[in-house]
Amino acid sequence: MKEICQETIIKEVKRLCMEANYVLPMDVQKALQDAYTKEDSLIGQQTLEVLNKNASIASCTSSPICQDTGMACVFVEIGQDVHVQGSLNEAIHEGVRQGYQEGYLRKSVVDDPMFDRINTKDNTPAIIHYEIVEGDQLKIIVAPKGFGSENMSQVKMLKPSDGVQGVKDFVLKVVNDAGPNACPPMVIGVGIGGSFDRVTLLAKKAMLREIGTHHPDQRYQALEEELLEKINQTGIGPAGYGGKTTALSLNIETYPTHIAGMPVAVSICCHVARHKEVIL
């Protein structure tokens, strides 16, 4: 049994919140640079140049890449042989509180979602997903999620008879609806299968999966490639001003589902696809 104290978790979550907001993951940086060399629209190229400069300014000056420093989405994989002293839940919220305060990150959370909408002033609560795994490690991923793109994500309960074409049509519809609102180039995660709740989590995990990696099933890999190509033929382009770089990547995650259903979720992220992880 491994013992991990609350203080360690607070300190690590705080650091992850700050670093995730200042430094783009390497795969996203590389994808943005590649897109710049391949873009054939002038205004698209100029936009990508600004985005690359922006990422470099943010990382050099420890400033937020984007002013929407997001709601802190935290994915925790906890080994069944790990014991946390004190409340793990409270430690994560406290880490978020300290990270957003000390890192000069924007506080973007309101308490009551409909009636009061009063800012909690410390960006808590975080959205926490727990998964129990084997072993004695604790993995924490902090993925601050901006809502310009989050608002453009969609879920649909397709019928089995809708088939592959139904999935393709839905993904393209979501991308077209999102257009310039989602700050393209986008990073897209698609979940297929499971249930109404599970499919959205699959989509989010797909969105966080490293750019350039593929679904292990070749049929889904081919679909990832085909959808990305189709999305980049829509002409939406960087910032929506016209061009070929509408998405940097599209990843698919799947799960078994019910005989009567084929849930599909499309999680849209902007080019500021932030996430940072630690293994304790």
Binding site: I65, C66, D68, S108, C183, Q233, G235, Y241, G242, K244
Partner: protein, 188 residues
Amino acid sequence: MIKSITTPLNQDDVLALKAGDQVLLSGVIYTGRDAAHKRLVALLEAGKELPFDVYNQVIYYVGPTPAKPGAVFGSGGPTTSGRMDAYAPTLLSLGLRGMIGKGYRSEAVKKAMQEYTGVYFGAIGGAGAYIGQCIQTCEVIAFDDLGPEAIRKLTVKDLPLTVVIDSYGNDLYEQGRAQYLKEHQHAN
């Protein structure tokens, strides 16, 4: 060619701008997003004065990050403009000349922009650190309790913007995409 323009903007300034133009904007602008717009329109409905006169002014849809010690401003790229569509026609009718944001606008906003001569500029979404460097002064002038959503008076220097929707109803989001597809002959 990139045009340099300075606020306040009059009707002639706006009429000279066309969708697709790239501009560098300097001068005073005001920030305002969801909660601030709701309050501005509520003040008008109650017959009260606004905290600033919107006539010939420009509102930037942004909620910046807190400035670090010694800095004037944090990161501040645009937020999605569509959420302000419910309020924008009212402000345009009072002579608001420009809006800065990103994303689609409603037909009602486009119509009000033609009727009252307004322009919609796009700032590059997600380029918060880059845009933040164009801000020279920043002062909260209303609704301080709203935190990042408070109304700020900013002085900006050479803020890089693109005219997305002009006062003639032209929309770069439609035209830029169509133009690209025409030039590259994609079937979609």
